[in-house]
C-alpha cells in the first residue's frame, strides 16, 4: 500500500467510526428524549390525579383499629337491607366477596355470614376515577366499612341474598386487608361437586378446607351447618330441662378405662397415668345413684379408635342422658325418643333457611320422622333382613351394611328416617346391660338409627351389685378395675336406663351429609390434630 492509500483507509475508518458514533449518539438522544417525554407525561398525570381527586377523603385504607375513638355510628346488617330502607344513607361493615371494574364503574359484592348484597362505586359527583380504581383493587375477603345509599332495583339480583336492593357507595374504607393470594376461593368452596365436574370449575377438597378452616368456615354453607348445630344443642338442653332433667358436668380425666380397655387415650398424670373419658357412662349412673333422678350432660368424648371412616372422630361432642324409671325401661326410651322428635321438629320449624342453604351445595332428601317414634324389635329387624335375602343368626350383631339395609327397608315400609331397634341379643352388648326378664338370649337394650346409621346405643343398666359382678365375670373383666363402679350400686340404686348421641353425627345425618368432618368445626381424627 502507498502512503496515500493508507491515509485514505485510515480516514475512511475514522469516517466509519464517526458514522457509527453518530448513529449511536442519535439513538441515545432519541431514547433520552422519549424518556424525558414519558417522565413529563407521568408527572403531568400525577399532577392531574392529585388535582382531580375530589373524592380523596372518601376512600382509603384506614389506620389499624386500636380503639382510637368510640364512634356512635350505627352499622346496618346486610340481611336488613330491604326495599323498606330505600333511599336511606347507611353504614355497614362487611367482607368484599368479589369486586370487578367495568369502565367507570366498579361492582362489588359485600358479604356478611350467609347474606350478601351488590354494591356499586360509579364515577360521579360522589366518587372519582381514582376511587373506583381503588375499589376494584381491594383484595377479596378484606373487611370494609362502607357508607352507601340503599336503592331499589328494577330487576331482581339473582346472585345475591338481598335481591331487591343495591348499594350506591359514597365512602369506602378498608378496615382489614386480606392478602392477595387466598389458599382457597370461597366460590369454589361453595360449589356443588356435580357442578364442578360438569363445568370443569374448581371445587375444594376436604383436606384443603380443613387445613384452612378459618376461611372455609366463612362460606354460607358452613355458616348454615354450624348454626343448625347450635340449634340442636339448644333444643336438646331446652327439651330435657322442660322434662325436669338436671344438667351435670362429668370428669374427662379418669383413672380406669370404662367401656373396654383398647380405645382410650392415655395422658401422663404427675407420677402416674390417667385416661381421657370414652363416655360419661359411669358418672351419669353415679348421679342416678346419688338421687338426681334425671340427668344429662354435654361434653367432649375421646375415642382412640384408629378408624378412618366418614363417621368416626377421635374427639366429638357427646349429648348423654340417664334416667331413673318406675317399672319399665320403655319409660326411658319414650323420653329419649320424644327429645329427639322435639329436636327434629324444632329444626324443621325454625331452621328451614339453614337447611335450604346446605341443600344448595349438598342436595338431600328432607328428614322424615314419626311421632311417637317407631320402635321395632330386634327379631323383627332380623326377619325383615332375612326376607331381603340376608343370612344371619338370631344372636348376631348387625354389621354396618346390614344396618344401612335395614334402614332402607324401614324407610320403604314406614317412611321414617328415625327409628328404635329394641331388645338386642345379650351376647353383643356390654357387661352392664340388663338381661331380658323372660328370654336370657336377649337384653333390655336398644339402638337408635338416623338414615340407617346408628346414633345412639343404650340400655337398662344392671343396678344390682351382685348381678353386675356376675355379668362382669362372664365377660372376663378384671373386677379390681371396676371396683368403684360396682360399689356405687351397693347402697340402694334405682332402676335406670339411658343413652348418648354424638352431636356431629346427628347433624350430619339430619342434613343428609356424608362426612362427619363437615359438621365438626375443627375435627380430630387419627390423621389430623390441627388447626
Amino acid at each position: 500500500m502507498t502512503k496515500e492509500s493508507a491515509q485514505s483507509a485510515a480516514e475512511e475508518d475514522q469516517q466509519a467510526q464517526s458514522k457509527k458514533a453518530l448513529k449511536k449518539q442519535q439513538k441515545e438522544a432519541e431514547k433520552a428524549a422519549k424518556k424525558a417525554e414519558k417522565q413529563a407525561k407521568v408527572a403531568a398525570e400525577q399532577q392531574s390525579t392529585e388535582e382531580d381527586d375530589f373524592a380523596k377523603d372518601r376512600y382509603g385504607v384506614s389506620a389499624l383499629v386500636q380503639s382510637q375513638q368510640k364512634l356512635d355510628r350505627k352499622l346496618v346488617r346486610v340481611q336488613d337491607l330491604t326495599p323498606e330502607k330505600a333511599d336511606q344513607l347507611i353504614w355497614l361493615r362487611a367482607r368484599v366477596h368479589t369486586s370487578r371494574a367495568k369502565g367507570k364503574q366498579c361492582f362489588l359484592v359485600l358479604r356478611q355470614q350467609q347474606f350478601n348484597v351488590q354494591a356499586l362505586v360509579a364515577v360521579g359527583d360522589r366518587a372519582s376515577k381514582q376511587m373506583v380504581k381503588f375499589a376494584a383493587n381491594i383484595t377479596k375477603e378484606s373487611i370494609v366499612d362502607v357508607e352507601a345509599a340503599v336503592r331499589k332495583v328494577e330487576q331482581k339480583i339473582e346472585s345475591c341474598s338481598q335481591q331487591d336492593v343495591e348499594l350506591h357507595v359514597e365512602r369506602i374504607f378498608v378496615i382489614s386487608q386480606a392478602e392477595a393470594r387466598l389458599p382457597l376461593q370461597l366460590e369454589d368452596a361453595v360449589r356443588p361437586d356435580g357442578e364442578g365436574e360438569e363445568e370443569s370449575r374448581a371445587t375444594v377438597n376436604q383436606d384443603t378446607r380443613l387445613d384452612n378452616r378459618v376461611i372455609d368456615l366463612r362460606t354460607t354453607t358452613s355458616q348454615a351447618v354450624f348454626r343448625l348445630q347450635s340449634g340442636v344443642c339448644q333444643l336438646f338442653r331446652d327439651t330435657l330441662t322442660k322434662k325436669g332433667f338436671v344438667e351435670i358436668q362429668t370428669p374427662k380425666i379418669i383413672s380406669a378405662a370404662s367401656e373396654g380397655g383398647a380405645n382410650v387415650f392415655t395422658v401422663s398424670y404427675f407420677k402416674t397415668s390417667a385416661y381421657l373419658a370414652q363416655s360419661p357412662q359411669l358418672y351419669k349412673q353415679m348421679c342416678i345413684c346419688a338421687d338426681f333422678d334425671k340427668v344429662f350432660c354435654v361434653g367432649p368424648v375421646f375415642r382412640a379408635e384408629d378408624s378412618n371412616t366418614h363417621r368416626h372422630l377421635t374427639e366429638f361432642v357427646g349429648l348423654d342422658i340417664e334416667m331413673a324409671f318406675n317399672y319399665h325401661y320403655h319409660e326411658v326410651i319414650e323420653s329419649i325418643t320424644d327429645t329427639m322428635v322435639q329436636i327434629f321438629k324444632g329444626l324443621r320449624d325454625n331452621f328451614q333457611t339453614e337447611i335450604q342453604t346446605v341443600n344448595k351445595q349438598f342436595p338431600s332428601e328432607p328428614f322424615k320422622f314419626l311421632e311417637p317414634t317407631l320402635r321395632l324389635e330386634y327379631t323383627e329387624g332380623v326377619a325383615m333382613l332375612r326376607e331381603a335375602g340376608v343370612e344371619m343368626g338370631d344372636e348376631d350383631d348387625l354389621s354396618t351394611p346390614n344396618e344401612k339395609l335395614l334402614g332402607r327397608l324401614v324407610k320403604e315400609k314406614y317412611d321414617t328416617d328415625f327409628y328404635v331397634l329394641d331388645k338386642y341379643p345379650l351376647a353383643v352388648r356390654p357387661f352392664y346391660t340388663m338381661p331380658d326378664p323372660h328370654n336370657p338370649k336377649y337384653s333390655n337394650s336398644y339402638d337408635m338409627f338416623m338414615r340407617g346409621e346408628e346414633i345412639l346405643s343404650g340400655a337398662q343398666r344392671v343396678h344390682d351389685a351382685q348381678l353386675l359382678t356376675e355379668r362382669a365375670q362372664h365377660h372376663q373383666i378384671d373386677l379390681e378395675k371396676i371396683k368403684s363402679y360396682i360399689d356405687s350400686f351397693r347402697y340402694g340404686a334405682p332402676p335406670h336406663a339411658g343413652g348418648g348421641i354424638g352431636l356431629e353425627r346427628v347433624c350430619m345425618l339430619y342434613l343428609g351429609l356424608h362426612n362427619v368432618r363437615q359438621t365438626s368445626m375443627f375435627p380430630r381424627d387419627p390423621k389430623r390434630l390441627t388447626p
Partner: protein, 298 residues
C-alpha cells in the same frame, strides 16, 4: 211415673212428720218400697228397649247396649269360618306382621276403623297411631281412634298382627305390608277388601262375591265421591236391596254393609235416605263396632 216421684218429693217431710219432727218409720218403709219398685221398673224398661233393638236388628249376636246391663263379658265373633293368617299373609318369620296404613287426616278412613275393631275381636292386634312429619298436627280424636293402648304393647312379639296407622300428607290412602313381596295397596276400598279377607273367607260363590264387591264400589265411588244425583240413585238402590234382605248382600253382614254404612255417614245423606236405609243404619249402629266410627265424625 215422673209425676209420682214429684208428688212423693213434695209431700215427704211436711205432711208426714210427727210432732217431734221425725218421720214415721212406716212411711219410710213405704217410701223405700216405692223407690225399689221404681228402680226395678226402670231396669225392666231398659232391658225391653234393648231386646226391642235386638229383635229389629237382624243377625246381631250381641248388642253392646244390652251387654252392660246383663253383665255379659264375652262377645262371640261376628264372623265364623276359619282364616289362617299364615296362609293369607305368608309364613310367620317369628316377628310381628305389621300392616301399615298411611292416611290423610283430612279424610279419616272410617271403614278401616270399623274393620280394625273387628280384627281386634278375632286376633291379638297391636294397634299404634303415629303422626308423620309431613303433618304438623292432628286433632286428638284421630290420635286415639284405635282405642286405648294394649297393656302388653311393650312386647311386640306377643301379638299376631300389627295395625299401624300413620297420619300423613298423602293424596290417597295407602297400605304397606310386606315390602319385598307385595306392592302397596292404594285406596280405602282396596285396603278394606284386603282387611276383610283376614276376617272371613271371601264368599266362594262368584255371584255373591261380585255382589259384595259391587256394593263396595257403589259405596266409595257413588256414595262418598259421587254427585248428588249419583248419591240419590245409590241410596235408592240401597233401599230396594234392603227391601229384599236384612243386609245388603243377603242374610249375613258383609263388607258391603260396612263400606256403605261408613260412606253414607261420611256423605251426610243419612237423614234423607229411604226408610229401609234408615232402619238398616240403625241396625248397623246397634252393633258396637259402628258406633265408634260415628263418634269420630263429630
Amino acid at each position: 211415673m215422673p209425676m209420682y216421684q214429684q208428688q212423693q218429693g213434695n209431700s215427704c217431710s211436711s205432711e208426714h212428720a210427727l210432732q217431734n219432727g221425725e218421720v214415721d218409720p212406716a212411711v219410710k218403709a213405704l217410701e223405700a218400697r216405692q223407690d225399689e219398685i221404681l228402680r226395678k221398673l226402670y231396669e225392666l224398661k231398659a232391658a225391653v228397649e234393648g231386646l226391642a233393638k235386638t229383635v229389629t236388628t237382624p243377625d246381631a249376636d250381641l248388642d253392646l247396649t244390652v251387654s252392660s246391663s246383663l253383665s255379659s263379658q264375652s262377645s262371640t265373633a261376628l264372623f265364623t269360618g276359619t282364616t289362617d293368617l299364615d296362609a293369607l299373609l305368608g309364613k310367620d318369620l317369628g316377628a310381628l306382621r305389621d300392616i301399615v296404613i298411611n292416611a290423610n287426616p283430612a279424610q279419616p278412613p272410617l271403614t278401616l276403623l270399623v274393620l280394625h275393631r273387628l280384627l281386634c275381636e278375632r286376633y291379638r292386634v297391636l294397634s299404634t297411631v303415629h303422626v308423620h312429619s309431613s303433618v304438623s298436627s292432628v286433632p286428638p280424636q284421630l290420635l286415639s281412634c284405635l282405642g286405648p293402648r294394649h297393656p302388653d304393647s311393650h312386647s311386640r312379639h306377643m301379638f299376631q298382627l300389627g295395625f299401624t296407622l300413620i297420619w300423613k300428607d298423602v293424596p290417597k290412602l295407602q297400605m304397606k305390608f310386606s315390602v319385598r313381596n307385595m306392592c302397596p295397596i292404594d285406596g280405602e276400598a282396596n285396603v278394606a277388601r284386603f282387611l276383610f279377607k283376614l276376617l272371613a273367607p271371601h264368599p266362594s260363590e262368584p255371584a255373591l262375591a261380585t255382589l259384595v264387591d259391587s256394593w263396595v264400589d257403589t259405596a266409595f265411588f257413588q256414595l262418598a265421591e259421587g254427585s248428588s244425583e249419583e248419591r240419590a240413585t245409590a241410596l235408592r238402590d240401597l233401599g230396594s236391596a234392603l227391601g229384599r234382605s236384612a243386609w245388603l248382600s243377603g242374610p249375613e253382614l258383609s263388607l258391603a254393609d260396612v263400606a256403605c254404612y261408613c260412606c253414607v255417614l261420611q256423605s251426610g245423606s243419612a237423614p234423607s235416605a229411604p226408610a229401609n236405609v234408615r232402619r238398616w243404619i240403625k241396625s248397623c249402629e246397634n252393633l258396637g263396632y259402628f258406633s265408634h266410627a260415628k263418634t269420630l265424625l263429630q
